[in-house]
Symmetry: C2
Subunit: 300 residues, 2 copies
């Protein structure tokens, strides 16, 4: 465990922090960006990070955190705990949290699926008020190196409060993420997981599958690929680990989305000559694409 570093004395004072001691477990793109944004917003607050040593060293160099340790014991005094590891690690961390955080705290996570976390959180003692969260912010590249304090600017941050629990925690979290530039939105975990299966999980799986099949099928012709293939497969650089967790914790909804998708592909496949299915599906796709673009808020 690392010692507390000295805080620079010339840090400008901000408004009083909503949380005094923020513990972030997992300093990837999201966890790292929360750290950077919170430090910039509330210089008098403390950002405590738990991750593996090499990641913590990079975070220190980037001035993203105040306190760093690879041992969760460092979270002891936190009044906000943000679980920002892959989903199944977050579930595991949740099980050990009461032991590491003896006082009262708000607890949230930033994972891409929510039902499993919300269920696991029901076992927490009442002093640890859990609200599931999911900032819909991403970037082409993962990792603390690509973290940015403005990552959440103008982006939705979904919360999935469990029925009748943590109303005060929800309110404080909304104030917190609004101060980071995000737009908090409420939904329930089941709706979240069904929606994200279509909006995010299906596009990820189809992009990786496409890149794999095109690579195998056109190995020596990749130099002739156009912009279309390059855009369509951008997500294919995503790391497997994070997505194994997403799929394992949302398998039913992702399964439904994949089934619907495979059905449409089989319709197209069966009718390549006549093109009736193609005409219908392309017309629908063109209209949905316009609605998708129209639904994007103008963001900075």
């Amino acid at each position: 465990m690392r010692p507390l570093p000295m805080l620079p004395s010339d840090r400008p004072a901000g408004d009083p922090p909503i949380f005094q001691r923020i513990a972030i477990v997992g300093l990837g793109l999201i966890g790292g960006s929360i750290a950077l944004a919170a430090r910039r917003r509330w210089p008098s607050g403390l950002v405590i990070a738990v991750d593996e040593k090499p990641v913590l060293e990079r975070a220190m160099v980037l001035h993203a955190i105040d306190v760093a340790a690879d041992d969760p014991v460092v979270m002891r005094g936190a009044d906000l705990v943000v679980l920002a590891a892959p989903v199944r690690e977050n579930v595991k961390l949740l099980g050990e949290l009461a032991e590491h955080v003896p006082g009262s705290a708000v607890v949230t996570d930033v994972g891409s699926t929510k039902r499993r976390m919300v269920e696991a959180a029901r076992a927490l003692p009442p002093r640890l008020a859990f609200v599931g969260g999911h900032p819909l912010a991403g970037a082409a590249r993962a990792g603390i190196e690509h973290a940015r304090p403005d990552l959440f600017e103008g982006r939705p941050w979904l919360f999935t409060p469990d029925e009748g629990r943590g109303a005060e925690a929800v309110e404080r979290l909304c104030t917190f993420v609004t101060a980071l530039g995000a737009e908090p939105r409420m939904t329930d975990a089941a709706t979240h997981d069904r929606l994200l299966a279509f909006l995010s999980h299906l596009p990820q799986l189809t992009a990786s599958a496409l890149m794999h099949v095109v690579g195998e099928g056109a190995e020596f012709g990749l130099t002739y690929a156009g912009r279309g293939l390059i855009d369509t497969t951008r997500l294919a650089s995503s790391p497997a680990g994070v997505w194994q967790d997403v799929c394992a914790t949302n398998a039913d909804e992702i399964g439904h989305a994949l089934d619907a998708y495979i059905d449409v592909l089989r319709e197209l496949r069966a009718d390549l000559d006549a093109g009736e299915a193609l005409g219908r599906i392309f017309e629908s796709a063109g209209a949905w694409r316009e609605r998708l673009l129209a639904a994007q808020p103008r963001r900075g």
Copy 2:
């Protein structure tokens, strides 16, 4: 039919045109861009366009063409004919070409599949020297409005000469497209169609299918879509008509590519919980994605 417009007398002189009278049938993005590029490159040459009247009027406003008609009889004196309509229309036009062009001419097309055209061209009289062509240039939006004289700059232009035919025509076409900024490359029609099934036709079908399924499945949540979905579905605005022609004339190769893709999706689908297939496919996809990016020539 429109009369020949007067040529402006103040046009600067260029080097001697490779073709004196270029007839382009179909003034979409590609046909229109060839017209603009050829007029800029060889001001003393003549660009003759055949399309429907509203398209020709837009092309005239854009100064893309010299002569415009909705009747193919206007091609009479052409020494280069470029068929730039959808593939099956090009095949039909090829059947009528000998009647409209009584002299010698080089004939090419710019369609996305090549076998059907190359076969149909075997029925042409020897004075019409056909070489199949496919400029690998595109843009997010189709139509003469988006045509640009620099569309082909640094992009490959594939030619698929038929065995032992049209060697001189190939040479002139290579000089022609090089002067438009493109990089001519030779292949055969079968290899072309197999390669493009993976590089272009499969990504198009999967993007349209994805946008259709996501729209139906997440209708009220499209405002929460991220950059990933937007990039992955960019191709979904493509018009059905062109792609019905592509699929009908390359159904066997597209069918194989779709089968391979559906197989991979089913592997993922069957293993969402354990994630072994996901680990393997994502690792392969990530590596292919890097090779795809590395294979892209630096283009201006």
